[in-house]
Symmetry: C2
């Protein structure tokens, strides 16, 4: 219950400097409240959070536009410069994934937005980063924790996190990361997975005797080649390139072909025609939600046990004609989950169930604020993970 | 809309022989209907389905008990006999995974229940099969399609299918398989994933220079060993055993150690303490649901687009105090999904969203039948995937 008062996005007791922002610069939004302060502290608390962020948060980019400058301390060594599109024959020139150990000494370049991703150069996550920020520098990380840390320690501006796949489903582990860290969702990216068969330059498909691949879901039986397991698609491409094996192909993205100097021998070889991964773009600070274009708001909450409680929770949205674009229950059965709020370093909290919901509304809309205010009246735990423009381009 | 009338479990026009079963042997359940036939055809249709199955379905086992005999045509070559627990030094003695090609010539043994699973011997899916049916013969399959086909072609009695994991989430692909095939859920198995570090007999942990593993989620950094990607955990264990490599370990289950004659050098090395996978047990025929112990009913449905429609759908359960143990939306955005019903071979159907819901009620309870009858009034598509006893033992 202790988390109830602090878990909602911005819904914590505002420190003195935030109160200033509320009282002097955003009186128009305050004027829309039309609510008695004492009667709807929760709702206002939610609203104050938004206002407080307006007062204190430097607005970064809300979409794939040229990002603002950030601090400049060091060169861009080891960081992938997206402009250099030549084939990499010398694989040592590619950036090495960040690990937790070397994060502390990672160089920074102040000239462009830097986006961390999990995986090797050529991973689909890198594609997602480049779809969100076409001119960004992509920074490979050894694992997701390292990508989150890289943002928290100001080494990069954002990170992209695969959260669900049209055939694989939602990744609970990555939702847990969102709860364990203080990053905010500032965007989403829908990316079509397009597996290609790659080989060394000049090699024909028929010459392949083995194929390195990451997931067993891709049926390779018709190729008649030996399967070699790889950690991920980019690693598969890297294996072929580094071994210079003419008889070995790799299943990876077209970008991996570019990065590792390989030829594309076949395209769209995945089992599922429509294999789409949804990534979240995460940053240290939330964006200021607008109402100029469709926004989504992602929330996580838990409820007391009992029949009909979820129904009650959905009523707060249905009554206000707010559409849901996602709902998912996650059984935890009294397992503990580490959750951080804005005030502490994280504590183990026990939940029976968590619910993940995306609503098709912006936090700038009063109906969304009212709905979440009402939900918080009976939710055991509630956190707004972020409000962000929908990605409608596939 | 054509699917509406036929998609609910058993909710298709009963052929003549089924009508006989309804009229003569189950009048007590009919007596409970208390409904005018013309007014609630949908509901009764649902009920008729249950009765029809009673009349025509041979009851197999509802839980981990000794199964009934089935046809006997051939010896148990290639099938894992669970009693033989000795270490397999000769890996050639282990059963080879079934592929689609050799399914047609697969031998059958009539002495015990046979359960197909995806993977190699020692896979967690095999563990799940043995938890459900301790005395069963487990039959490895090359992929999930082959496991489904093995049941459909009467080569095995059941198959187990991993459907969700506490950290990985639900596997949409496997839900699709349920829709593409006509198998019914007859049970569930909750299995705790317990990754072990395995090595050749006598090897100490310190001697390992490399470790074969299947998922990058397991942090191996503290081992200081080179990581070798493997297709799955059982394949990792098989690699170490077949290469006789003293300096290479594998991350796999304790059962894989037994199967491949390896030593367990460390236990519980997964990142997540509570990593639980839920499997579904599938059979050709549904079981007759009881009310003697807690049952679950799994359904899939789609709705017309619009705010509040899901709310309306949940109302049919909330009004009857039926608890949900799972809810999940799956966006399909007008992509087609191949769906079979009881009458045809499958057709491509377009959905915006599918919803997966598990209700904590048995189809033998009138409230569950009424609820689904009401849901079918406005659902574009509805299928009951199965009704089965809950697995409460972990």
């Amino acid at each position: 219950m202790a988390l109830k008062a602090v878990s909602i996005w911005g819904c914590y007791k505002p420190p003195p400097q935030l109160g200033v922002g509320v009282s002097n610069s955003h009186s128009t939004l305050i004027g829309n409240l039309r609510y008695d302060y004492d009667k709807c502290r929760k709702w206002e608390c939610c609203c104050l959070g938004v206002l407080a962020q307006r007062a204190t948060t430097a607005v970064e980019d809300e979409g794939p536009s040229v990002p603002p400058l950030v601090d400049s301390s060091g060169a861009a060594d080891g960081v992938h410069q997206n402009e250099s599109k030549g084939f990499h024959k010398d694989l040592n020139l590619l950036p090495k994934p960040l690990t937790a150990i070397d994060i502390s000494s990672y160089p920074r370049d102040g000239s462009k937005v830097r986006v961390a991703y999990q995986g090797l150069p050529g991973a689909y996550s890198e594609d997602a980063a480049l779809k969100a920020y076409p001119k960004c520098e992509t920074v490979p990380c050894d694992n997701f924790e390292a990508a989150f840390k890289a943002v928290e320690l100001w080494l990069v501006n954002k990170t992209v996190l695969p959260i669900e796949n049209s055939v694989g489903g939602s990744v609970h582990r990555n939702y847990d990361l969102l709860l364990r860290h203080r990053l905010h969702i500032v965007g989403e990216v829908q990316l079509r997975v397009n597996h290609c068969l790659l080989g060394l330059p000049g090699v024909r498909k028929e010459e392949l005797r083995a194929v390195a691949f990451a997931q067993c879901e891709t049926t390779l039986s018709d190729l008649g080649a030996v399967k070699i397991a790889a950690r991920d698609t980019a690693a598969a491409a890297q294996t072929v390139a580094s071994n210079c094996a003419r008889d070995t192909g790799a299943i990876a993205s077209s970008r991996a072909a570019e990065v590792y100097g390989l030829d594309i021998l076949a395209e769209r070889i995945q089992d599922d025609d429509e294999n789409i991964t949804r990534f979240l773009v995460l940053a240290r600070e939330p964006i200021i939600p607008g109402t100029d274009r469709p926004h989504k708001t992602s929330i996580v909450f838990s409820l007391e046990e009992g029949p009909g409680v979820l129904f009650k929770a959905l009523a707060v949205f249905a009554m206000r004609d707010i559409n849901l674009s996602k709902i998912e229950s996650r059984p935890l059965k009294q397992r503990s989950l580490r959750v951080v709020d804005h005030l502490n370093e994280g504590s183990a909290t026990y939940f029976d169930y968590l619910f993940y919901i995306d609503i098709e509304a912006s936090m700038a809309e009063p109906r969304a604020q009212y709905a979440l205010g009402q939900l918080q009246e009976f939710a055991r735990f509630l956190r707004v993970l972020g409000c962000y423009p929908m990605d409608t381009v596939l």
